[in-house]
Symmetry: D3
């Protein structure tokens, strides 16, 4: 191929790809000073959160009782700073495009929400402590809490979920979804940040689990790999598109167990203490303390 | 353990592991100047492609209308260079081993294919734009196109697939498979680069989806997590090994929906507008506009 | 928000999170000189192992017959050093906390085990060679052994499993689990390091596969994506918690095939040559050479 | 040493070092949003400037005539962004501490100055082109302009100086000094950014050269290593400290040559065409076209 | 060149370079567990020290009064840990080679010395504060203490010197020299760690300054670039080699000034308040308050 | 400043800087496949050379007698590969620009030269061993050969010089100069790669030393900091520019000592055993065993 041909194709392709018509809806224009949320910074935020919640298990710090306050202080400060920036980026991502950088109001809002999240960390830690306990009690192969904390995927997924859920509750757009997709990619567990989940929650193995946005899950619930808590169908609007925002995923009351690859669909209620067997398809309410297994 | 014992075991192990007999079939001998395909460079290639296709969403660039042409120009040039090297590595990986470095013919071929791929990027972008639309319309929880582009795993998987598919079509060995396995690892979605997939394609959640090499998928098709479009069985050759290259995966016509964990096997045709329910096992043709649900 | 409020919330949160009561069971106190196992170093250990077992396919080395002994020598030495440190970290993680650093006895034990693992690498390579062969024969889409080695997830999972299993057998705590979870995250294949698996083993696609700790798998066995080899239920102790250490997962004899998303539960025996169809739930023994498919 | 002693010393030292009295004048308190100038970012700024001024010699870009405009466009945009942030940091570093973050006025000023600097780059390049020519003509060992640009320390020092000088002229505090000290550390050539230097300037070898803040240097001047253009003495104020801001360094008119290790001190004028020999000490005016050598 | 020739030359060269005879005196054999001092870690140690001594000026921390104690606590702990390892490496480097790893005695000694150094940091900071003051007062071009701290090479050189000197005083081998050579490379100022230097010491510009091992320098002393405080000649032993350890460098009493490129040689005493002019060669005692200038 | 003004200035500046007229002589156009020499790769080359010549002192390897051959083998192979690429880059940098990539002849030449350099490493090591000995014997402050090797700047400068000199002798353009400038920047010692230097050569402290391209230095020569071995004047051609390639720097015979800041200029001969005092200016031959000191 001659250099001239090469230059021609290169230039033409650049022109086509820079053409505004080709970019419609696919191009995120940055306004000065309003950067996009950063996956890399959000990873650091999650790493910091893990270091704060489970000191000594994550990060390179060799924390001990002499120095734990120093470490938590530094980590909290950095978490607050990074989180403020990312929340700001999330707010700017979705606020109406007027061609001007976001005003100070957005920055203040971001800082306030970030501080609120920081203030909720002690509560998040104490809920996660119940999740560690549940994972340990639920797996005969587990040797210690330390093993659960340092290598069980469910704990990684739940740290992300519990933080993402708080951010969602505080009204932050986009960021919670990115955080939950990070855990999805790492663990194969896909929990929507809007889902509500009680304490002592655990998932064994985890790959393929899906928990939809309007799920409500009680305490002491246990899921196995491949379980879907999904929507059965969604009402369509006049254009044939799904209507957004309708409750469409299951409610699981306390003490429910769902075995591997079961699919539970629609706004149904699985009563307290129910057990759903593997590879089952459930689309109707189950009364408390009932069991449903595959007939085979 | 004495130092002498240590040295003995170490030396013996190095000897055993360097023994040509032990290495048969497991050792990739490099000829000078013919490096192996690099996972790290292929990741950069995918990152560049994402930056070019969805400007402003990926990479660290703060692109805007003033500067988009500069950014796309630089990225296209770098993409072309890196891709040429990797295609060359793929060609060399599979060409007959004669002990000599590949001749210039291979290098010219690599550069030409790389340029052809670059020239197809505008078309790839416009197909991916339909996939973004399909993902948005198909998920009541989605808030904006931006959210789809920046965090939905299906889009990550499809960018890789659509590029890998073009490279496969252009006759590049190995590289397309590595690119599709990168997406598989990141998203749990395993699409063989040889599969053919129409526009407005989407996958919800995605973990566990498998789309085999000889699948043909129409337009406006939607899959859910855990769906397998696989082979039922393969004819064996006289040695009892599967015969390579036979059409053995399903054909899905336009507007088909397959719900979670359904398994569709063999060279069957699922007609236009069919719906396949969750956890179903389908091994026979379905007429257009029919539905198949689990009986439970 | 005023600076005073900010400082107040920050300080209060640091205090709460540093409170020993809040940390009970969640805080890994480091003793001087006894660092935690490091995910990053374990990744380097796996990368080194891949480089040693499949020379030329992994790492940045451009090894050839002239220089292979140099490369294997350097890699073996580094592997031994890093592994000794990590085994030591694993031993210290679980040994009783007396407030003193581990004595030299632990260090000697770590070095000996590390050397034993190194000495077993030739055998590990030769078993993995059979796995490569099985993957190639089992997939009509595979073009070459090289393609299998460089991009099939099953090989990545099995390198980790076969090393983790040896470490488990040698009595190393924690480290084997971290190594297997690394493969789980990368491939979606979750193989417990305590499971026993014969030669010529392969898994197609792999996402969602679970192989429990007490599984025993023969030679020439093939699994598809989403297969669970799990426990049916576990006996509880007087406190209602599962009793640890009981054989509770299936035995698969030689030449068994299990298709996608099948679930095999409990300490049952699947006889030699059995075939289990997709999406099946199996909880009872199967006689040799029997087949079980979904009735649909 | 007991753990108690250790903890005691550690805690006491932290207390002493955190004591405000001990920190007086040594502690740079950050106000939120007003980061310190960053050496690392300033290095990237210099690297970008080198890439823009001498395309193809620096950075990893493989620029050519087809793509140079793309590269310069991307680099200019990034330079402007990074420089705006650093100028802002410089302005904030020196503005009066009122406990509040800098207002938007500072940000606007930073952006304007940054853009002015960008607008002067063509002129800076054309002056540096004369410096390259002077270095080439002045060194019999030089083989090509390319060699001068890619490895002569004088060019590195002059790129930094000519940019730092523009920033100084535009009223930016601190940043110019950091940029000139970066060159000082790399090359041993210490040029104060406030000095004024004409075109076709060169320094051979360079280590130990010092050019003071109020120097005025004409065109076609050449210095050798170890030359000091310094102050002889400075008037003291009533406290015995030097009075700041007085012209105290030499004026070198056009076509002057100063050989190695010569020391020229005070506000004297070295006339056009003068030559100063090695290891000389000059503290008085020299008439044009005179020479001064060591008497030995 | 044929592959055979290549392999021959390569192998022969490796053999020659591995030959113990060729390695005599040039080969540092590592004993297990006794690593060499690491330049990279020592750089981190210096960066940490700068961060602790001048909070907010170095490192990426955005420390403020709210959080300074947390930052200093974390930095002190890390400094202590890294320094203990490096001191241990220094002790092992020089202790007699018996083929066995160093015993615990060395480790204890390293930890004790490291803690002693940490305990002296408040005093080191307060001496450096006087050096900052001296640099500010001595340079009419300096705008603020902040400018001195963040970019004057003398401060970088003195942080290294004052730490290296303490380590030297505490009996640590090798490490102090490496630290002082790091400053030498960065600033061109070469201060031997064994030299003794009072408070309010400064050096202007600095490149080329040499301060020998047995120098004794009083308070309020100022040097300019290129000044050598060196040895005149050294007594030789019976083999014609210099005898080590003899006092051979100058004593400078309080308030001495030495101008650029002056050379002061031998164990002479420069009395309080003396001034030595530029490019002078001084080899004899100077009485207090005398001046010596070049006669030209 | 309005966005329009901004865009205008940005665009205009990009245009000006991309204008071929503005780029004349300053723009290095890359031909495909002919990259520029890389400072970063050359640094790795020097690091590798240091690791090979002084095993155990540089790099992160923990080499010992058991494993030294493996390490040297791997390092030699990598050195050869990187060096071949860089020599190729140097050859392409200077060969006539015909618009086509360099042919295979250049590549073969680069590989041959690289191998020749590798084959000379044993001789380079043995000369450097004499330099280490000279540095140790010449400095009463030196404690061990190990200290000399690991931190004396003269050794760093001489490793670079002795390699650069061999490359220069083998006809490689540009690369030797870049290597010597790397040492110049790190140590302040500027040795032209074309200079000829005997064994047992040392430089004390080193900052500011300049050794010109046509210098010839015998054995057992010692220089101190700030010494210039330079050209006195150069004959000009008809255009008034220096004529390149004329012998113009001093010859120092065996056993010469030159003290700090002395300047020796022109093609003169300093006879065997001469001593030149500090701050001296020498421009005429000195007979063997004469001394010249400053008259003061």
């Amino acid at each position: 191929m001659s250099n001239t041909d090469f230059a021609h194709i290169l230039t033409r392709t650049v022109d086509e790809l820079s053409d505004p018509a080709s970019l419609k809806g696919l191009f995120h224009q940055h306004r000065e000073g309003n950067p996009l949320p950063s996956g890399k910074v959000l990873e650091e935020i999650i790493d910091l959160s893990r270091s704060i919640i489970f000191p000594g298990y994550f990060g390179k710090s060799s924390v001990n009782t002499r120095t734990i306050r120093y470490h938590i202080g530094v980590n909290i400060e950095r978490l607050h700073k990074l989180l403020t920036d990312q929340i700001m980026a999330g707010l700017c991502f979705t606020c109406p495009k007027t061609g001007e950088p976001c005003t100070g109001a957005c920055a203040n809002k971001a800082e306030t929400i970030s501080l609120q999240l920081v203030g909720r960390l002690p509560q998040i830690r104490s809920t996660l402590a119940t999740d560690v306990e549940a994972a340990y009690n639920g797996d005969p192969a587990a040797q210690s809490y330390g093993e659960i904390i340092s290598c069980y995927p469910v704990i990684k997924a739940l740290v992300n979920y519990r933080i993402a859920h708080e951010l969602h509750t505080l009204g932050v757009p986009l960021i919670p979804r990115i955080i939950s997709e990070m855990a999805h990619s790492e663990t194969g567990i896909d929990i929507h940040p809007a889902a509500q989940i009680g304490h002592h929650f655990t998932i064994d193995h985890g790959t393929g689990v899906v928990i939809g946005a309007t799920c409500i899950i009680g305490n002491n619930v246990k899921l196995y790999q491949g379980v879907t808590l999904g929507a059965k169908s969604f009402p369509l609007d006049e254009n044939g598109n799904p209507i957004k925002g309708i409750a469409r995923h299951p409610i699981l009351e306390d003490d429910v167990i769902v075995y591997s690859n079961a699919t539970v669909l629609g706004r149904i209620t699985i009563g307290r203490g129910c057990i759903i067997g593997a590879n089952i398809w459930v689309t109707e309410d189950m009364k408390p303390n009932t069991k449903k297994y595959k007939k085979e």
